[in-house]
Symmetry: C2
Subunit: 408 residues, 2 copies
């Protein structure tokens, strides 16, 4: 991937065109083309089933105006900028418009010369937006209701919620940070940063083409994640269908974010056997206990020589399994983070959990309740932030982020 | 770079052997060999003139014991672990020793299967260590004296100082984080994390083989940095020579770290022409004003049609130039960071400045004083953390981190 963002202008534009064409034919959101450009427009937003990129910059924003037209204007400009940035098309130090040297550049420049690096930008709206903009209450999807409190929650309001979100994923963190920073800059006077989170390494695969990465407990994470290659799972578990709720979200999905502090120091003093019992998998290859390879199906009925279940009743993988949850799955797309230290001699490290699903109330809530109530892993982690956003369908048919809602 | 850490065990060990051999022959610290292993042992520590890797995890630690033998024991164990990790040699989920399943693993595992990714670990000691361990005051290098206050400093004690530091650099952030986390884990009871900093993108080149990257102001940074290929600069500006101070630091260097918050929102509202005037270079190719290419020498005497200097008297590059500072240079090795948001609607982003030099009092202090007093850039930045560490010579001749000091 050695093409510069500048030289990719032509190729990027062509790829975007192909993406739109694919969407018009009803094809799923496209995967990266060889030059590292993920098409911005498609049936669904990019950055959901796109093979999870290596790095994340996530931002939650508060809208600081009640003027719907101002917000719509910003969303139009954001959409144009997002389309330009994901195509890798910075053209001059003055920005896309060439640049009057006596004006502030319309691009901040730190990604000049960098490749597109599979940048995706995924947009969502929080439940708090509706009242703020005086939108009709019938437009609030019931599935966007606030999450209930879970046992052990230690949520910091300053790291939770938000009226809007943008998830920037890229294989180059500077490209992801550049994109968020430029959207934040454009939002001045209309939006303000509520919280933001950098993720340095992916913890999930969203495609069978990817190896399963490891989280900061050292275990492979997301072996049985929903994958882009399973159309049934995507239809049943991820995409909002007509009739699920208000029509503006048809073809969209919900994003649940949880900032999970991991007390790695305590985990690191736990024996290997105990770690594997808590998770229900081996640490090395990631096989379910009793199996030998990562993708072996877990045998939850198997018992050991003493009649005890081979995979404990409260093992993490059992509690979170589709079997235990009546077929419920989610598409996880989280990232490891380290946010400096905690002032008490420890790293402030963990998992920024991001997952996409068709209905948080029917999917995330029962899963998280089962884990919060019984998972021994809860002794080693702490949920410190939480947010839910509704992410509209893709813009394959034209238009701008949020148009289906603001013009509903 | 597709070899796993496990499969690299043999190759890594061989590379380390070659590094030690190189050092014995008086060769400079080696650059990465093709399999992504940077030799741990050499005449100088790795991670200084090593071509700057893409990602950083830096940790400053307080020693929480006064027992010198305990500290020496930890430093011995740290050295063995550092040598193992930089060679990419995690072998089992139990760690290097294979692992008793009923004991905590001796490696935390999240880098299992990852390539060595050019990991380097660079060790330093702060001035506060000497009194804490009751070391002879004659061992304190005069050049390790506290930095004077600079105009505009907004230093947070919680982000400053420290008894020990480890700089982990790698092309894979998970590899860098894994290394720091494991050293922190091993230090339990002897050291505690004082502060740590993740850097997502390098802002300097330390080799002529590298392109100059951009900082978060969008400008190329470090065009005339000291480079590994200039033995005169390294000898005069970077490595501590016999007679400079106490002998335990001969062949070492000093590390100056400054956490620099950048008020990118204000910068982004400044015109392109003003930005270029403040820096003294063009934003696009990074040419000095009046020049056309990045590596053109700045002509500080040139005037424009009205007789004004083409490069302003207070331009950043003029104030920081070797010409203005009587020949003083430093080897910069900094990283861009984003640490979430500031609670006031803005990103908490900036530059984690790291530089290596032979004498901070004679090099960093006059440079920073000149910038703090006259650089217009100071209106856009804020120094929020500061530390100085003495980094001993490499371990090409054997031994452990800090041995030359503790056994002096």
């Amino acid at each position: 991937m050695t093409l510069s963002r500048r030289r990719l202008l032509g190729a990027g534009a062509a790829a975007v065109g192909m993406g739109a064409l694919g969407a018009a034919c009803g094809a799923p959101a496209a995967t990266p083309v060889p030059d590292g450009v993920v098409p911005f427009r498609g049936e669904h937003q990019a950055g959901i089933v796109t093979p999870a990129q290596d790095r994340l910059h996530f931002v939650s924003l508060d809208v600081v105006t009640a003027d719907r037209a101002e917000v719509a204007d910003l969303l139009r400009r954001w959409t144009a900028a997002a389309e330009r940035m994901t195509a890798g098309a910075e053209t001059t130090p003055g920005g896309a418009t060439g640049g009057n040297p006596n004006s502030p550049p319309d691009d901040t420049g730190e990604a000049l010369g960098l490749p597109p690096a599979a940048l995706t930008l995924t947009f969502g709206v929080g439940a708090s937006l509706f009242a703020k903009l005086g939108l009709d209450p019938s437009l609030v999807p019931p599935a966007l209701a606030a999450l209930p409190p879970f046992r052990g929650d230690q949520l910091d309001p300053a790291l939770s919620g938000g009226d809007l979100c943008v998830q920037a994923c890229s294989d180059d963190p500077q490209v992801a940070v550049h994109a968020v920073r430029n959207l934040v800059r454009m939002g001045f006077g209309v939006t303000a940063v509520r919280w933001s989170q950098l993720g340095f390494g992916r913890t999930s695969s969203t495609s069978t083409s990817q190896a399963t990465p490891r989280n900061l407990f050292g275990f492979k994470d997301g072996t049985h994640n929903v994958k882009a290659e399973d159309p049934d799972d995507l239809r049943e578990q991820v995409w909002v269908a007509p009739g699920d709720g208000p029509a503006w979200l048809d073809g969209g999905t919900y994003l649940v974010a949880r900032r999970i502090r991991m007390h790695v120091e305590i985990w690191d003093r736990t024996s290997l056997a105990e770690q594997e019992t808590i998770i229900g998998r081996t640490k090395g290859v990631g096989a379910p206990l009793g199996g030998t390879a990562e993708f072996d199906l877990a045998d939850y009925a198997a018992v050991d020589g003493t009649g005890e279940p081979r995979i404990a009743q409260n093992a993490h993988i059992r509690l979170a399994s589709a079997q235990a949850l009546g077929g419920v799955k989610i598409l996880r797309r989280g990232y490891n983070f380290v946010d400096g230290s905690d002032g008490q001699g420890h790293l402030d490290a963990g998992l920024f959990f991001v997952a996409f699903m068709r209905d948080p109330q029917a999917q995330f809530v029962p899963m998280q309740r089962a884990l919060a109530d019984a998972d021994v892993l809860m002794e080693y982690i702490e949920h410190t932030g939480s947010a839910v956003f509704a992410c509209p369908a893709g813009l394959g048919g034209g238009g701008y982020w949020g148009q289906s809602l603001l013009e509903a």
